[in-house]
Assembly symmetry: C2
DNA sequence: GAACGGGTACTCGGATAACTATTGTCCGAGTGACTGTGG
DNA sequence: CCACAGTCACTCGGACAATAGTTATCCGAGTACCCGTTC
């Protein structure tokens, strides 16, 4: 099981965006430069965030990205789902119905849900719930507690050309 | 985030193996036939289980696989880790230290753990804990409750040549 | 009749190939800002 | 001096290529059984 690398990038960018003034847009190139990431690919990830309304984008000069809604309304689950997709990690292909297994168990469990899928879904639900309980604002606060000067430093770096 | 398809196969096979007598070995070909799966590939997955001691294997005529330990001592996490690997889904590449970001935040958070990685690790830990709390025996019982005749049917099918 | 040795068929296990998904790159469409001109 | 139109540079967004990971297949090594032979 593996999460796409872009999730890490996206979360960092969202935190950074939460620290610059909410009405200033930051180009993907600048966001990428801050962490020394490939610009075009980060842009692609930001697009994905844009499709979900997590960030708002604007083209042209003075264009770029800004948060689409307050950082306390953006959860880690939102970001992960936007970048990595919201499909279940364990997807039941129903092999219990295939081949002799299907004929043997018969229609007894044709209607009952797959026990295995249920177990994995439950675990995954906990995972989702956990991520959904953490907002970008929460993380930004936590970072600030560990390094109080960080927000100001970041804001200043993004403000200067 | 996506779990390999082999995880589903492996769990099903473990449950089936828990229902045949513990000292009979079942060839991969037979396990595969039961669910109409590609034999060689399932064999590969069973190899992975074997490396972790989840199943024991024997070559030659009358060879095959059997559970390596009692089904109540095999958790879904064990199986998932054996097939899919036990690496973290979210792996922190430390981009907060790359480029200007690293110079700006300085050594203030050089020693502090990455907040983002922590958040994802926590969620993942819950996922793991959940899967580690469910054994093959648990699932087998649940299936039996839904379909009481299943164990006997499965045992009989695997016994006959 | 019993023990032994060779052959055989069967099974796992790892090496190899096909395919899919992720990662990375490029270029066009759109947009706002700037500049020069005319009133 | 102010308004306006044309041009330009900048940015996103999606289309296209390279790379890595997963899925599938194949063949060799090893093992237990079976059969024929010998004591």
């Amino acid at each position: 099981m593996k999460l796409r690398e872009g999730v890490e990038w996206a979360v960092h960018c969202c935190i950074n965006l939460s620290w610059v003034s909410p009405d200033t847009t930051v180009p993907a190139a600048r966001l990428a430069a801050f962490h020394d990431l490939p610009t075009a690919y980060l842009n692609k990830q930001m697009n994905a965030l844009g499709r979900e309304g997590i960030v708002a984008s604007r083209s042209g000069p003075r264009g770029g990205f800004r948060l689409g809604r307050p950082p306390q309304d953006i959860t880690l689950m939102d970001v992960a789902a936007a970048i990595d997709g919201s499909a279940q990690a364990f997807l039941c292909t129903g092999i219990r119905h295939h081949g002799p297994a299907g004929r043997i168990t018969g229609q007894a469990d044709a209607r009952t849900p797959c026990t295995i899928a249920q177990a994995f879904s439950l675990a995954e639900l906990e995972w989702r719930r956990n991520l959904a309980g953490r907002s970008i604002a929460d993380l930004a606060d936590a970072v600030q507690r560990a390094n109080p000067a960080a927000p100001e430093h970041v804001r200043r770096w993004f403000d200067q050309p």
